[in-house]
Subunit: 397 residues, 2 copies
């Protein structure tokens, strides 16, 4: 697999564009991804009981058509908690985009992110649609979907399948309301592979649990989270079928793309100064291991300690203890970076200069061994800083 | 029921004291509560899998003796995650206190709160024990158990049972690692009622769910949380038996004391500037209603919005949606104070000056009606401020 310096339009047959329509004051806030032909599609959607209108529209359309040819996104207004009017607006957003592209409406996915509760300004949407182009600047798409993110999140890879090269790219936005149980943000992945929607969904569902679902910024699950994968077959490779070596290769590629985006989201969590990676080993089941890792990375006390560069490992142990997993607690090892701080559940003294070096790094690696099985799990998050509070206290002012 | 201006020694036959032993630099950090005779006892303990040594000692002793005559507490060092040495130290803390009071060791409950992972300095403990007195200053006990709390938390009430007056008092400390599922801090309740340990436990277990378990500060469940209730019978009332009107009266009294302490803990949460009270009505079961209320009050995004005095009700709806409770989301009303912000799941416009008044108050009342049943639940919490981050980033420096 080769890592490319590419963008969401790197796979064959895809284009993307982004621009400022006016949902936000100044920044880019409207974009689309278009495939030259209908693409196989797979999606995962928020587990929040309150589901934003655009997700309902997209999910229904994907289920109906089994394909997707375009995705249109606005940032600044989430069109969530907007009642009947919000649903009408989301259907209209789909219809207007389809008209612009001369497509059947159900081939257009719609997504929105931003403030909850405000109605979508339809005149702004129309203005954006009048200006957006096919074969525009794909890097602008990555900018147009951001809210409080401080940087764009893009990844592109390619890999040979027989004589054909398949290219895959992903783009995502965070960076608040980032938490468990599905699609914890907006993520769009394009690919030129020849693969059915069913196989694509199988690959996505298999790897979303260990990637996007293993990041947390603040424990709040958004009403608008969604990951969509499109594969348009332009690479003209032999169709990738489930339960083949090629499928495994494809799944690995997808996992790489999703894990990379997940890490970038965690790293750019609201107010984050450090990326935290937690590995928990020696657990009876992989699910338990993931829950333990996510409990540690989600602890406000662990997160504030890391912001303060304080190796307060007791808080790590406490977070393991309340993870809701039945584990023995008498033989736990905890490492910060390479330094053990607890072995066999007893404190270990460490060199404070070596520890300073670990805690002052941009990425804090926490490794835990429970010694009660052979499964492991990983989770990513970020520290909790003054700026998280500032960003969210003043979000609308 | 009469609200008294009292303290933990107001019930007959109890005394308490607190002093500076040296676990902390300057503040009071060591105290005890002593009854003149063995008291009936009830306890609830942390649900964290990692349980601090003093809780193990106290729980085993309470189960063995079925009575308690004294409780000794230090703050500054939690004696948690301290391995075998920590267990030995907790047993020694119990034994030394028992010797000082000429009691059987199992009649002494021990509790610690503070930094996790440090060993209990036994010389400091002995120094404290050499200076503490029976019939000391009970207000000093309330001070001696504090960590990052900014104020003492005390309540006292009395009520007539036939010709006899029963007095009950409580004292608690917060104010970080405050969250669900039991004993989310240290709470001690004294009472001079004549009631068995079994009946006392029944009363405590019944009301802990709607009081202490309904507060959250940061979602972190401590390893050291414990609530102990002692009833020494000095009021010489006719024994209060379960399933009698007197028992109901007693339970009400206990609920008042616990709810009062719970609210005071939430109000004094680390960095808190506002108390948040959430009432969720119209739910199928009381447990679901409590879970919904706690999800809202625990949301980092709701908490930061309230710190910023921003009526961002969309975040309230989102927190209801991810509470893990199966609710219909198409007919929800949300009120901030008396002002409706969402009715039948659609946004309602409000007067911004009236809203400013609501949001600028010290207590923010959020009321939700799901319209899908007749049960309700209440939870308390606090806003998330810069100071929460500051306190926890720099806790050990």
């Amino acid at each position: 697999m080769e890592i490319l310096n590419g963008n969401i339009a790197s796979p064959l047959g895809f284009s993307a564009d982004g621009l400022h329509a006016g949902f936000k004051k100044r920044k880019l806030d409207f974009g689309w991804i278009v495939s030259e032909c209908p693409a196989s599609v797979a999606g995962v959607y928020t587990t929040n009981k309150v589901i934003a209108a655009p997700l309902i529209v997209t999910k229904q359309s994907v289920e109906k058509a089994g394909q997707l040819q375009a995705i249109v996104v606005n940032s600044g207004v989430a069109n969530s908690c907007t009642g009947v009017q919000g649903m009408n607006d989301a259907w209209e957003m789909q219809k207007l985009t389809a008209e612009k592209l001369s497509l059947a409406p159900e081939l257009v996915g719609v997504a929105s992110t931003g403030v909850i509760g405000d109605l979508l300004p339809m005149a702004t949407l129309k203005s954006g649609l009048s200006k957006i182009v096919v074969n525009g600047n794909a890097d602008d798409f990555a900018k147009a979907i951001l809210t409080t993110d401080t940087q764009t999140k893009t990844v592109a890879v390619s890999q040979d399948f027989g004589r054909d090269t398949v290219t895959m790219a992903g783009v995502a936005k965070g960076s608040g309301m980032i938490h468990p149980n599905m699609a914890t943000m907006l993520g769009f992945i394009t690919c030129d592979a020849n693969i059915s929607s069913t196989a694509l969904q199988k690959a996505l569902s298999a790897k979303v649990e260990t990637t996007f679902n293993q990041i947390t910024v603040d424990g709040d699950t958004s009403t608008n989270d969604m990951v969509l994968v499109m594969a348009n077959g332009c690479a003209k490779n032999v169709e990738i079928l489930p339960d083949t070596p090629e499928f495994e290769q494809f799944v690995e590629m997808l996992e790489y793309v999703m894990a990379d985006l997940a890490k970038k989201i965690a790293q750019d969590g609201e107010g984050a100064t450090k990326l935290i990676q937690v590995d928990v080993e020696g657990v009876a089941t992989a699910l338990d291991a993931r829950m333990l890792a996510k409990s540690v990375v989600g602890s406000s006390l662990v997160k504030t300690a890391i912001f303060g560069e304080d190796p307060n490992w007791g808080r790590i142990l406490a977070a393991l203890g309340y993870a809701g997993v039945d584990i023995p607690v008498d033989n736990i090892d905890i490492y910060l970076g390479q330094l053990p701080v607890m072995l066999a559940s007893s404190p270990v003294s460490f060199d404070s200069e070596e520890m300073d070096e670990v805690m002052q790094a941009d990425t804090i690696q926490i490794r835990v061994d429970i010694h009660a099985g052979n499964q492991s799990g990983r989770a990513w998050g970020c520290d909790l800083s003054y700026d998280y509070v500032k960003i969210n206290a003043l979000y609308r002012t």
